[in-house]
């Protein structure tokens, strides 16, 4: 019990003092997770929507692949990305191993299937007659997609929350492809592992509190957007 109390006290001291051992991982986590989720959204939303709207040969296989990929263990992604990015690997000459770019790459791979899969199921769930109606009213393809995104706002927001949650909390891939290098690739999760390993439980708790706060903050904001979407969508009931 003493450890907890000591930890919390030290945590407050560190946070308010702006200690670099705590601020640097915080900043990097935001940058890396933010970039990864941005790429995931730009790629995942269109792909998920197209999967949901179009029918083509091999669609069922692709859907199965995406669904399976949602359960990809992050540490496995880390290992495979390492094998590719190591100097001895195919893309070794790029020299991005042990850089934040490598972490962004791994995290994008982890969150992409989630966003694609959940967007796909959201769009798939729409009544196809709605699409016909929109098209019948003279909408272009682009306008159709915009409208569908609007209709599925709640579910898409849920996809983003899931995608974001999967990467801000993951440690295996970030550790492997980033190397947990001080001041370069040390994010909140890998910093927590290191400080715990060194027995600096107070610092580890401080980092954990910060991580939890960020996750909470982002999710509160995303959930708020989700609610706004519900209200704008013609007063659809908030269940």
């Amino acid at each position: 019990m003493n450890l907890f109390v000591e930890g919390f006290i030290k945590a407050y001291q560190l946070i308010f003092a702006g200690a670099p051992s705590v601020l640097a991982p915080l900043l990097l986590t935001i940058q890396v997770t933010g970039t990864a989720i941005l790429i995931t959204v730009l790629l995942g939303l269109p792909i998920g929507m197209m999967l949901g709207l179009k029918n083509f040969r091999g669609k069922q296989t692709l859907v199965t692949v995406v669904n399976s990929a949602m359960g990809l263990p992050p540490v496995v992604v880390g290992l495979f990305v390492s094998l590719v990015l190591w100097r001895s690997g195919i893309l070794g000459s790029l020299g991005i191993m042990y850089t934040p770019t490598a972490i962004v790459l791994a995290e994008t791979i982890i969150s992409l299937p989630l966003v694609i899969g959940l967007t796909f199921s959201a769009v798939q769930g729409l009544d196809v007659k709605l699409n016909w109606q929109i098209l019948a009213l003279g909408a272009s393809k682009f306008q159709l997609y915009k409208k569908i995104l609007f209709e599925t706002k709640i579910a898409v927001a849920a996809a983003l929350i899931a995608g974001f949650g999967s990467i801000i909390s993951e440690v295996g891939a970030a550790m492997m492809v980033g190397g947990n290098i001080e001041g370069q690739t040390r994010v909140l999760t890998t910093a927590i592992v290191l400080e715990t390993r060194k027995g600096n439980f107070d610092v580890a708790i401080a980092l954990s509190l910060i991580l939890l706060s960020i996750a909470l903050l982002i999710n509160v904001l995303l959930t708020k957007t989700q609610r706004q979407g519900a209200n704008l969508g013609g007063g659809r009931a908030w269940i």
Binding site: L27, L28, I30, Q31, V32, G34, T35, L38, W86, R87, S88, M97, Y98, T99, P100, T101, G179, N180, I181, E182, Q184, R197, K198, G199, F201, I218, L221, K224, T225
Partner: protein
Amino acid sequence: MSLVLALVLFATILAGCNAKTTKRESLILATTTSLYDSGLLSKILPDFTKETGIKVKTIAVGTGEALKMGQNGDADVLLVHSPEKEKEMIAKGYIAKRTPFMHNFFIIVGPKKDPAGVKNAASAEEAFRKISKADATFVSRGDNSGTNNREVKIWENSTTKVTGNYVKTGQGMGMTLQVANEKGVYTLTDEATFLSLKDKIKNLTVLLSNKKALKNTYSVLQLNERKVKFKKDLANKFQDWLLLKKTLKKISKFGKAKYGKALFIIN
């Protein structure tokens, strides 16, 4: 509200991008977790970067992985402490030069009660024999690290079966010590890690510190350019700097103030 969030997010990402574009020469140093966790590298490496402008990416893994990284050219220079495995690598042609430069000692730690009577052992091998005889629990790193290699060697030399209660953590020295501390059992550790964690592992006490035989030697390894593709110039600059008198002097002072005893002794 979400617009504000998006703007803040963009700002931070942009800030990150700017930082990434400043290109500096960098080299990858593969080292062991026990050396890294002692804090020595965090203390001395900034000097190297200041003097040469070369960034050092320190990857702390087990000796086994570090040696493998060297073999594959995924690291430019190695700092390890497993003499036998290092000599194997030299024989295979991957290492051009091995320079042992500092050492400390392995010690056997365990519960004050000491049910196996390790305190009275004359050597590490005898201590292990006693632990095996008493069927006492022994925690091993089990991760092919320098410390693990030495531990396995002692078991071999003790010509006794490993104790019935043998626990493998597969983790670094710090974690392994914490596990041993929680369970109140025996383990082999390097003195530096033990000292740096002393107040957190109050359940454990030093039971055997037989100086000569448990010497723990750290070496810097230079890869062989004929077999491995790596950043030779940067690696040489690093090795030259590491072996400078002033760097070694700084290393020899490390830990004195905090632990009352230097964690590493220069050869």
